[in-house]
C-alpha cells in the first residue's frame, strides 16, 4: 500500500450490510481530503475490495453476514497495519467496543450518529495516518 504523502488524497471504504447505512455515511461525509468512497456489503466482499483498492480509511459495521466486522477488521489490520478503521455499529455495550479496539480498530461510533459525529470521528482517524 502506498504511503500517504498528505491527508488530501484518501480512499474510504464503507462496509455495512445495509444500503441505507452505507448511503447515510456517504451523504454525511464532509471531508475534502477523502477523494474516493468505495463500498462493501459484508466482510468477505470488504476484504476483496480492501486488497484491490487499498483504502487508508475504513468504516466497519459489526453485525454482517458472511464475515462479521470483527473478523474483517482483524484481517485488514493483518494485511495493512497502517489502515485506520472506524467501527460504526449499533452494538452499544462496552465489551463489543473494547473487542473491536483489541482487534485493531481505531475508533468506535455508535449508530445512530449525527453528521458531525461521523466527520469528527473520521478526522481523528486521519490525524493518525502516516504523514498525516
Amino acid at each position: 500500500m502506498p504511503a500517504v504523502a498528505a491527508n488530501t488524497n484518501l480512499k474510504l471504504l464503507v462496509v455495512d450490510d445495509s444500503q441505507f447505512a452505507r448511503n447515510r455515511i456517504q451523504r454525511a461525509l464532509a471531508l475534502r481530503s477523502v477523494r474516493k468512497v468505495i463500498v462493501a456489503s459484508n466482510g468477505v466482499e470488504a476484504l476483496a475490495v480492501f486488497q484491490r483498492e487499498q483504502p487508508q480509511l475504513v468504516t466497519m459495521d459489526l453485525t454482517m453476514p458472511e464475515l462479521d466486522g470483527i473478523g474483517a477488521t482483524t484481517e485488514m489490520v493483518r494485511l495493512q497495519p497502517s489502515v485506520r478503521i472506524l467501527v460504526v455499529s449499533a452494538l452499544a455495550d462496552k465489551a463489543t467496543a473494547i473487542e473491536a479496539l483489541k482487534r485493531g480498530a481505531n475508533g468506535f461510533l455508535l449508530k445512530p450518529f449525527t453528521d458531525a459525529q461521523l466527520n469528527d470521528a473520521l478526522t481523528l482517524m486521519m490525524r493518525a495516518l502516516p504523514h498525516g
Binding site: Q19, M64, D93, K111
Partner: protein, 150 residues
C-alpha cells in the same frame, strides 16, 4: 422479560426517532399480545433473533408509506421495495443493538431478517409473552414487537 427490560426498548425506540429522522415519534404504552400467534404486522418487517441470556426475537414493522417518508427525509430519491426492506431491517438492528448498552454483551442479536407482508411459515415464532410497543411517527403507525424469555 420484565417492565425494566421493556422500558429499555421503549427508550431506545424514542431515542432512535429523535436522533435519526426529522421528527420525534410518539411511543405509546406497550401492551401484551393476548393471542399467541396473532402477530402485529405491517407492510415491511425487520426481524432480529435474540440469543444468550435472553432468547426470542424483536421486530420492527412499518407501513411502506412511512419507510418511504423516512428515506425521503434522508435525501433518498430512488426508493423501491428492496430499499424499504433494507431500512426496516436497519431500524430493527439499531434499536436492538442499542439495547446492549443495558443488557450487555450477552444479548446476542442476529443480522436482520426482512420480509414484506406475512412471513414464511415458521419464520416468526413468538413466545408466550410478547409485547407490542406502538410507534406513531407523523401520520404513520408502526410497532416494535418484543418477544423475549429469560
Amino acid at each position: 422479560m420484565d417492565e425494566n427490560d421493556l422500558n429499555v426498548l421503549v427508550e431506545g425506540t424514542v431515542r432512535y426517532f429523535e436522533s435519526s429522522v426529522d421528527r420525534a415519534a410518539a411511543v405509546g404504552t406497550p401492551y401484551l399480545l393476548t393471542e399467541r400467534g396473532q402477530a402485529v404486522l405491517s407492510d415491511y418487517t425487520g426481524l432480529i433473533g435474540v440469543s444468550g441470556a435472553r432468547r426470542g426475537c424483536i421486530y420492527f414493522t412499518a407501513p411502506s408509506a412511512m419507510l418511504r417518508h423516512i428515506l425521503l427525509s434522508h435525501g433518498e430519491t430512488e426508493i423501491d421495495g428492496r430499499y424499504m426492506a433494507d431500512v426496516v431491517g436497519e431500524v430493527a438492528n439499531i434499536i436492538s443493538g442499542n439495547a446492549r448498552r443495558v443488557f450487555g454483551h450477552d444479548f446476542a442479536i442476529s443480522v436482520p431478517d426482512v420480509f414484506s407482508g406475512r412471513p414464511e411459515a415458521g419464520k416468526l415464532r413468538l413466545g408466550e409473552r410478547s409485547f407490542v410497543i406502538p410507534i406513531n411517527w407523523r401520520q404513520y403507525r408502526a410497532a416494535l414487537v418484543v418477544s423475549l424469555a429469560a
